[in-house]
Each structure stands twice: as structure tokens, then as C-alpha cells.
């Protein structure tokens, strides 16, 4: 048995989610092969070859793979000749976008967003926004699986010495063409992988007040997130959103400020190691999951907290 891990990267760096996915692959029998499909991305293959647990790296380079459009990644993966028992990718927007196409073409029912590997064919995954955990057994001959990165601790990024093999990159489908990207520019760590996350909710009142949370985040080396209510109110862009319909995070420390704790939000952060809630409403459901709750007006508490750090 051999597992193929499809790497998530930006053509220069391997994303952290790929290391978590490799960790999930190592819980399966057999070897782990990483496919790096992209453009001008030799450095990504070099990084993958050093990752602990990787037996081989496949490098598929083509100009049309630069933006990793789903249709083209699908062709690149389907062009691989190896016989893989498992195909894994991170359950990020990258993996969610392209992986079901591969599953459909292989006539496999994909298992999405696993949080545990029970055996080579049985996995645990959250359903109903994390309100229930299903244990699912796949009876397909191949398993196509996306992995919730926060549920698997990454292995070492250095120390490995896997071989790198250049492979077929498939062909450009021209079904889809890249037009542009508007990425949120931030010096802060990535929300999905940060050790500390400071999130604001509707209680922040407006977008300007988020500056206060940014100051707090900078003191803690944290990423800034938000509840869906804050996103819907237009305080911050959608890529800040933590929750069922946004990002799933599990940092060492999660500080929820002015967030009531709707079930959809809790689904995105309740696996955090330590949760702090600051809210003036002592009945807010967020306090039920918080390790440390502070019932206080956030406009008083946050500046105090900034001064105290």
C-alpha cells in the first residue's frame, strides 16, 4: 500500500497544512509519496523531500499549474501512474476544491475532513458542524481523503532525504482560467496555523474597533479572527471568519472578544487548547466552552489586557 499526499503550496513554500497531512498519512500502512504540482516550484519539492516521513517526492511542473486550478490539478493527479491505495490532501480551500473531482473520476466516495485515522479504511470526521463525530468505513478499493490539519500534529520539517522524481504534469484543460487574487496582506501569522488567535465578534461594534484586537494580537504574536456575525456586519473580510462556514482553528490559546458563541462559531474553535472569553453578557454561551471567562466590557478589558502584557 502507498499513500499519495497532494501538497498544498504557493510555488515557493510548502504550506503547514501539508505537514499535518503527511502526519495523517503516516498513520496508514505503507509508504508516503508527496506530489508537488505547480509552476517553478523545485524549492517546494526540496522542502517536501526533507520532511520527516516522506519516502518519495513527485514533481509535476507546468506553467498552467501556477494557480493550482482544480481542473488542472485533477489532470496532473490523474496523470500519475503509481498504484495508490490512499490519496490525501489538506481539507483547506485548496483540497476541498480539487479533491472531489479526483474522487469522482476514480469512482470513489471521498471521506472529507477527517480528524482521526482508526485504521486503513476507517476514519473519524465531524458532521453537523462538529455537533457529532461519525466513524466512517470506506468500502472503496481506493480511499480519497481530506485531512483537517489542526487534528494532526505535524512531523519534523527537516531530517528527511526523499528522492525527487520529475513526473507528467497532465494538460491544461482551459475550462477555467485564472484572473486575479486579492490576498489579505498581513504581517501576522496565518489564522489556520497560529499558536494564538484573537477573535472579535459583533460586540466589537465596528471595523475600526478591530484595531484594538490587532494591537493585542501583535503583543501576543497572534493571528486575528472573527465570528460570522462580525463578518456579516462588514467589520472585517470573510477570510477572518472562524467557524463552521469559515476556518477551523485549534491554537494553544484562543481569545474570544465580544463573541456570544453561536454553535457555528464554536464548531470552528472548540478544539483550541486554552479558550479565553471576554464578554459583558455573563449568559453568553461562549463561557460554557471557555477555560477562563471574564465578564467585563471589552472596551475596558482589552486596553487593560494590552497594558498588562
Amino acid at each position: 500500500m502507498t499513500t499519495l499526499v497532494i501538497a498544498e503550496h504557493n510555488n515557493s513554500e510548502l504550506q503547514a497544512s501539508t505537514y499535518n497531512t503527511i502526519a495523517a498519512a503516516k498513520q496508514l500502512s505503507g509508504e508516503t509519496v508527496v506530489l508537488v504540482a505547480g509552476h517553478d516550484c523545485q524549492s517546494v519539492a526540496d522542502q517536501a523531500s526533507k520532511a520527516e516521513g516522506v519516502d518519495k517526492v513527485l514533481l509535476a511542473q507546468a506553467e498552467f499549474l501556477e494557480h493550482l486550478l482544480a481542473e488542472d490539478v485533477e489532470k496532473a493527479v490523474m496523470a500519475q501512474e503509481g498504484d495508490y491505495s490512499h490519496i490525501l490532501a489538506p481539507a483547506s480551500t485548496f483540497g476541498k476544491n480539487m479533491m472531489p473531482r479526483i474522487a469522482a473520476l476514480l469512482d470513489v466516495q471521498q471521506i472529507s475532513d477527517i480528524i482521526a485515522v482508526d485504521s486503513d479504511d476507517t476514519f473519524k470526521r465531524p458532521v453537523y458542524a462538529g455537533n457529532a463525530i461519525a466513524t466512517v468505513k470506506s468500502n472503496d478499493s481506493k480511499k480519497v481523503v481530506t485531512v483537517r490539519a489542526t487534528a494532526f500534529d505535524a512531523l519534523a520539517t527537516e531530517g528527511g532525504s526523499a528522492s525527487i522524481e520529475n513526473v507528467d504534469s497532465g494538460s491544461h484543460t482551459e475550462l477555467s482560467n485564472y484572473v486575479g487574487e486579492e490576498l489579505t496582506e498581513s504581517e501576522r501569522p496565518d489564522l489556520g496555523t497560529a499558536n494564538v488567535v484573537v477573535s472579535g465578534g459583533r460586540g466589537m461594534g465596528n471595523g475600526e474597533n478591530f484595531e484594538m484586537l490587532e494591537t493585542l494580537a501583535d503583543k501576543l504574536g497572534a493571528a486575528v479572527g472573527a465570528s460570522r456575525a462580525a463578518v456579516d456586519a462588514g467589520f472585517v473580510p470573510n477570510d477572518y471568519q472562524v467557524g463552521q462556514t469559515g476556518k477551523i482553528v485549534a491554537p494553544e490559546l484562543y481569545i474570544a472578544v465580544g463573541i456570544s458563541g453561536a454553535i457555528q462559531h464554536l464548531a470552528g474553535m472548540k478544539d483550541s487548547k486554552v479558550i479565553v472569553a471576554i464578554n459583558k453578557d455573563e449568559e453568553a454561551p461562549i463561557f460554557q466552552v471557555a477555560d477562563y471567562g471574564l465578564v467585563e466590557d471589552l472596551f475596558k478589558a482589552v486596553p487593560e489586557l494590552i497594558d498588562a502584557l
Partner: protein, 249 residues
């Protein structure tokens, strides 16, 4: 152009789901059911494209039991022109759903299929992408903006780092994210009108699609509970706890 919108009937988003005591699934008896919220956004987008004169006809399709008629009537009340129910009492997996939808696409000939990015029960996030692959069509998933011009559609997508814009050849599959639009409420006259709109039924067996399940759900359990935390009185106490007890700062 004709738009096909696929919709799913799910446990209402406001219902607190309960795991069955025998761990075989979640309680669905006597639970309020509604249209999956992402599907509602898909219906709304299709209707808006029709109102702009871009779409000529909006066809809603659902796969499920007789009660799915209600959900399809909701889609008709929101502005869909016609509905199709593929009738089955089985719970189909996303791969099977996409195979059934492919058949419906072949019969109806739409130039765009709009779907929700995921259903809030299974949280799989697969059907649209699978349908795209089976049809050999391009896809614009997690859409926050959809424009149609000259046989192409420009889709702005919600991705992890921000937004990405792609251009797709039509026909194409588009799946909706939350910020695409805010669905309207069906007005009483429109609910009455919807009762007279055509709703066709097809028996799943008549489509000749292999819809056998490929996975088995061995158990469904409650997620691990967090142990109850404590309330702190002051910011100073909070900082002290984080430094000396939790040791996270």
C-alpha cells in the same frame, strides 16, 4: 440560458442536533427540516440572474423522499420556474448524488448548475466538484460573486488567504458561499403561485444510476466535552492564570 439549481432538505440550521442514544445517527424524527442554507443562496443567485435577463429559466432539482416536495415548493416560491424531484427513500452519498445530477443535466441541458458549497448535515463539500468532474465542466466553488458575459462566467471565490477570481467557460458548475447574496423571503402571493408551478417526479430507479453506498457509518457520537472553566474577576487575574496556570503566554 437555463440554470439548474440543486437543493437539499436538511435539519433546520437553528435546530440543536441530538445524537441518538444507540449511536446510529442523529435524531431526525419530529425535527424541523428546511432547505440547506447554502442551497437557498444558490436559488437566490439563479433567480437574480433571471431577473437581470441573463437566465431564461431556473429549474430546481432535489433528490429525496416525498417531503422534499415542500423544499422544492419553497424554491418555486423564491422564483424558480420548474422543479424536479428524483424520488428515493435512500440517503444518497455525494458521489451518487452527483451521478444522478449528471443524468438530470443531460436531460435538461442547463448552461450552469448552481449548488451550495456544502450541506450543513454531512458537511462533505463534494457534490458540485464531483458533478463538474463527471461532466467534464469547469467549476467555480465557494463563490462570493458571479458575473456572466459572452458565454463565460467570472467567479470570485472565497479562498483561505482572501479572494480569487477565475473565468470559466460555460457550461460550468458554481457553488455558493455565504456572502454571495442574502436570500429573499418568499411572499405570500409567490407561495400561492408556487403551488401552480410544475413539479415533476422521477423515480430514482428509472434513471439507471448506480447509487449504492460506498461507505458505512459505524457510529455517530457526541463530540468530547470541554471541562467547565472558571470565571476570573479582573484582567490581572486573567494574565496571571494564562502565565502561571495554563502557561500559554
Amino acid at each position: 440560458m437555463k440554470i439548474l439549481v440543486a437543493i437539499k432538505r436538511v435539519i433546520d440550521a437553528n435546530v440543536k442536533v441530538r445524537v441518538k442514544p444507540d449511536n446510529s445517527g442523529v435524531e431526525t424524527a419530529n425535527v424541523k427540516m428546511s432547505m440547506n442554507p447554502f442551497c437557498e443562496i444558490a436559488v437566490e443567485e439563479a433567480v437574480r440572474l433571471k431577473e437581470k435577463g441573463i437566465a431564461s429559466e431556473v429549474v430546481a432539482v432535489s433528490i429525496g423522499n416525498q417531503q422534499c416536495q415542500e423544499t422544492l415548493r419553497t424554491a418555486l416560491a423564491l422564483g424558480a420556474d420548474k422543479a424536479i424531484l428524483v424520488k428515493t427513500d435512500d440517503q444518497l452519498e455525494p458521489l451518487a448524488v452527483s451521478k444522478v445530477l449528471k443524468k438530470v443535466v443531460e436531460q435538461e441541458g442547463p448552461e450552469m448548475v448552481l449548488l451550495g458549497k456544502q450541506s450543513i448535515d454531512g458537511d462533505n463539500n463534494q457534490t458540485g466538484q464531483m458533478l463538474g468532474a463527471l461532466l467534464g465542466w469547469g467549476q467555480g466553488t465557494f463563490a462570493s460573486e458571479v458575473e456572466v458575459e459572452d458565454g463565460k462566467t467570472k467567479v470570485t471565490r472565497e479562498i483561505d488567504g482572501g479572494l480569487q477570481t477565475i473565468e470559466l467557460k460555460l457550461p460550468a458548475v458554481v457553488t455558493t458561499d455565504l456572502r454571495l447574496n442574502e436570500p429573499r423571503f418568499a411572499s405570500l402571493p409567490n407561495i400561492m403561485k408556487a403551488k401552480r408551478k410544475p413539479l415533476d417526479e422521477i423515480a430514482l430507479a428509472d434513471l439507471g444510476v448506480d447509487t449504492a453506498n460506498r461507505t458505512e457509518t459505524l457510529s455517530v457520537e457526541n463530540p468530547p466535552e470541554r471541562s467547565e472553566g472558571i470565571k476570573v474577576e479582573t484582567v490581572a487575574e486573567l494574565v496571571d492564570k494564562l502565565k502561571n496556570e495554563a502557561k500559554v503566554i
